[in-house]
Symmetry: C2
Amino acid sequence: MNALIILAHGSRRKESNLEIKKLAEKVKTLAESDYSVVDYAYLEIAEPNLLYCIDKTVEKGMTEITVLPYFLNSGIHVERDIPAIIETATEKHPDCKFKVSSCIGMSEEMPAMILERAKL
Amino acid sequence: MNALIILAHGSRRKESNLEIKKLAEKVKTLAESDYSVVDYAYLEIAEPNLLYCIDKTVEKGMTEITVLPYFLNSGIHVERDIPAIIETATEKHPDCKFKVSSCIGMSEEMPAMILERAKL
């Protein structure tokens, strides 16, 4: 039973956080049977935070959790903060397998997406 | 003669800013004849800033400039700061036509890109 957690930075602006919630809903629809659970969390400022979201996901019986950093750059958050949280989560849930993908900005399709978006 | 400027937030981390430079190079290759100029700028912290980049682009003879906000959320930067800079640029270069696209996070293909990236 595997889960996907979309991890965004988190904003003081409610609408921005709501955009992440809506995005996760779209991903869930598109994922179909790929993941039993698709959820979202924020690294800072907003709630739910990642560790809380992981606890909740494990409680649902998930044994594999993929965290996708919804960040454009591989900065300190991606390279230091997220691995630190995953380390804590691994100690807390030793029977669950964790994977952190590279951040969304690393997508090879990004240049094409930029050109597409620039037309609109 | 039209140009595309990819506008990122800008980081204290040199490597993150370099990622934007490399991304712009990839977009330029992919764009082929769509844009005579593909360049990049930062909203804060790093240089070149947007207004400087626009000045330079106009000097190259560009008459249409599209600015693509390379942001995941439509926050204050996207909704207030960028339009304010474009207003200044429009006053400075009245013969140039400016367009600001919606931010990259609004792309309809984003949910699919998330699922793709999560696999890696």
